[in-house]
């Protein structure tokens, strides 16, 4: 399973490296979201600084939707899914591999967004390790949930409109816990911030487990 996951992740990332969709579309989109939020809230530095963690996580969520849509689109080419099934690769491995590829892209998005809120919104992280752990856990959870829902809406003509409706409410706990944890990281309130990791951790674990269990049945004929 793990070897299969590695193979699939490598394949997805290689396709990404050659097509550069994430680089030229997802990353600029994330920055654009931050700038637009700045316009919406006005140039007052205190407002922006207070809102920054929430805006950061909203931008991450939107980028996740884009990244998973791209990840699903890779498999929707003529006969691609059949090829993947015929290759004898464990469906759980496919799931983990695709999730890993999305996670790596999300890390890139978050690095850029982190730099973005520091530069644009003048945010200073007091306890950076807390923000880092929260981001790591959230990335795992978001990519697992995203890939699972991508498979759910794969092959549907209305995928582009359906996927955000399905996946954004599911990701609401990550938005809540992530932005609370980052707010705590900004103010340095470690104890209250760390308690939010108790939501991000189980979210990641639950969606990894559900994905490993249900990705197979989804692929049977879909």
């Amino acid at each position: 399973m793990w070897r299969d996951a590695l193979l699939v992740a490598e394949k997805d990332l290689r396709i990404e490296l050659r097509s550069r969709v994430a680089l030229w579309q997802v990353l600029p989109f994330a920055v654009l979201v931050l700038v637009l939020f700045g316009f919406a809230l006005g140039p007052g530095p205190t407002t922006l600084r207070a809102a920054a963690p929430g805006l950061y996580w909203l931008a991450v969520l939107f980028s996740t939707v884009l990244a998973t849509q791209r990840s699903t689109a890779i498999e929707s080419g003529e006969g691609t899914r059949d090829g993947l099934r015929l290759s004898g690769i464990d469906p759980a491995g496919v799931f983990l591999g695709k999730a890993a590829a999305v996670a790596i892209q999300l890390v890139a998005v978050q690095l850029l967004l982190g730099a973005g809120i520091v530069v644009l919104f003048d945010v200073h992280l007091e306890t950076w390790w807390l923000a880092l752990v929260a981001s790591a856990l959230a990335t795992v959870g978001l990519s697992a949930a995203g890939v699972l829902y991508g498979a759910l809406s794969a092959g549907l003509r209305v995928r582009e409109t359906l996927l955000p409706l399905l996946v954004l409410p599911i990701m609401a706990p990550v938005l809540i816990a992530g932005s609370r944890a980052w707010s705590a990281a900004v103010t340095g309130a470690v104890a209250s911030g760390a308690s939010w990791l108790k939501i991000l951790g189980p979210f990641a674990a639950v969606y990894l487990a559900v994905g490993v269990a249900l990705y197979g049945p989804l692929q049977e004929t879909a």
Binding site: Y149, L152, L156, L162, L166, P169, A172, V210, T221
Partner: protein, 275 residues
């Protein structure tokens, strides 16, 4: 749909109507106004029962039937239809929960909406299951659609505890459970308790009746999808037979309601799903 099921749904419907009418009568005319809440308390004969149906009955049934559909040994279209019916009724009840709660909240708290744990997670639940219904409306092969919907329902149900935990940490205005509080001591008294209990029974019966009816519609529309193809095919053949002047009596009656056994085994899955 066979006769016993139809008469069951009729009986359940009658019982639901009777208990609901009784609840309305008791709630509006017989029970006294409460000490603190005054006449507003009457909304509470309906709001908790509706929430109970939405959050536990409907989505419990949906989760259970999704698991049973996904498990190969119990896989059958029955579970798919039951799950879909339960979710659809559940969405209606969830929306009603929010509306009745909001109506109660405005005079009690002074606001239509507060960002408390229960309100927020109920609203999120509504959106989650609206997504399920959206997914279900997308035309697809029935088996594929059933599998997708079962997974979507399961994933949504799994999300519910996480959502409620994450929003629970803001807990501010909303009351703790009154009936199902730890220790299970009933804090409602006398005729009010009876009325509320009756409300629970009435809403559960309404739920069961609606699911029965919804299930029947789903089953009938599936059958329509299958039969329509066969009927049109047989009509087409009848035309062809007329054209070549081969004895027209040999072909199948076009208006036959009974699904006719058509000669070349027509096992074409209706690719577009339901009309």
């Amino acid at each position: 749909m066979n006769a016993p099921a139809r008469s069951l749904s009729r009986w359940v419907g009658a019982a639901a109507l009777a208990t609901t009418a009784l609840t309305v009568w008791l709630g509006l005319w017989v029970t006294p106004p409460a000490k603190v809440q005054g006449t507003l308390v009457r909304l509470l004969y309906l709001h908790p029962p509706i929430a109970w149906v939405a959050l536990y009955c409907a989505f419990g049934v949906a989760a259970l039937s999704s698991v049973l559909y996904l498990w190969r040994r119990t896989r059958s279209r029955f579970w798919d239809r039951l799950g879909a019916s339960a979710v659809e009724v559940g969405v209606v009840f969830t929306a009603l929960t929010l509306v009745t709660g909001s109506l109660w909240g405005r005079p009690t708290w002074g606001v239509w909406w507060t960002w408390t744990a229960r309100l927020t997670s109920t609203a999120l639940l509504l959106v989650l299951f609206l997504g399920y219904l959206a997914l279900r409306r997308v035309p697809a092969d029935p088996d594929v659609r059933a599998r997708r919907c079962a997974v979507a329902a399961l994933v949504a149900v799994v999300d519910v505890p996480i959502v409620s935990f994450s929003v629970d940490w803001w807990q501010t205005l909303h009351q703790r459970g009154t009936v199902l509080n730890p220790g299970l001591t009933l804090k409602v008294h006398g005729s009010m308790a009876w009325t509320m209990g009756l409300g629970f029974l009435a809403m559960t019966l309404v739920f069961v009746w609606m699911v029965l009816v919804r299930y029947r519609i789903e089953a009938l529309s599936d059958r329509l999808g299958d039969d329509e193809l066969e009927i049109s095919l047989s009509e087409r053949w009848a035309e062809g037979a007329m054209g070549t002047a081969v004895e027209p009596t040999a072909t199948v009656e076009p208006a036959a309601v009974e699904p006719v056994a058509v000669e070349p085994a027509v096992v074409v899955e209706p690719a577009g799903g339901r009309p």
